[in-house]
């Protein structure tokens, strides 16, 4: 594994840990988003 790959993996793990720590906020944001009106789900949705 190259040095840049190791660095990228470390950064990725750090971000994962950070997101886990932010679970309380992310839960509320997710709840609000799910309760938003006018969300239309589709099989063809594209970014």
């Amino acid at each position: 594994m190259t040095t840049s790959n190791v660095k990228a993996n470390t950064e990725s793990k750090e971000w994962n840990a950070q997101m886990d720590k932010d679970a309380d906020v992310l839960s509320v944001i997710a709840k609000e988003a799910l309760e938003s009106e006018g969300i239309v789900y589709s099989d063809d949705d594209e970014w």
Binding site: D22, K31, I39, Y41
Partner: protein, 150 residues
């Protein structure tokens, strides 16, 4: 799987550089075809199924956050709620923490719309009853004192 993008997600995605938007589209397509082909992270400790998928553009990592739920037929679906770089995320979370700490948000966070509407109905009903009681009292007083309307 049925998916949707929250308006906030659309706004954030539109503000990203074109190269990032194009890589995001590519990553989303791969995820839809085979979720395991994309680097992802299921966020631990969330009371819902919240997860992130990651992609890179010029060695900068970007993530999109999605929340899974089930439709009325119990089929899994996904709502994309956020997209951005690690730096964007570092700005986003503290801003959201502050927003959620505000007294108005605290209040509305704990109140369900149905409960609020029910309470409003109850209050209206009680006001109506008070008014009719008031009218009854007036009629009784008129009778009692033999007051005739002029």
């Amino acid at each position: 799987m049925e998916t949707a993008r929250h308006p906030n997600f659309i706004k954030l995605a539109d503000s990203l550089p074109k190269a990032v938007q194009s890589k995001a589209k590519e990553t989303f397509k791969s995820w839809k075809e085979d979720a395991s082909s994309v680097k992802g992270h299921i966020i631990k400790g969330c009371d819902r199924s919240v997860f992130a998928i990651e992609f890179k553009v010029d060695s900068t990592a970007y993530r999109a956050i999605g929340v899974k739920s089930k439709n009325k037929d119990n089929v899994e679906r996904c709502l994309w709620i956020w997209i951005g770089s690690h730096e964007d995320y570092n700005n986003y979370i503290p801003a959201q923490r502050n927003r959620l700490k505000s007294p108005e948000t605290e209040f509305f966070k704990n109140v369900k719309v149905e409960d609020m509407l029910r309470k409003m109905d109850e209050r209206l009903e009680s006001q109506k009853n008070n008014l009719s009681n008031d009218d009854n009292r007036k009629v009784k007083n008129k009778e009692k004192f033999n007051v005739r309307p002029r």
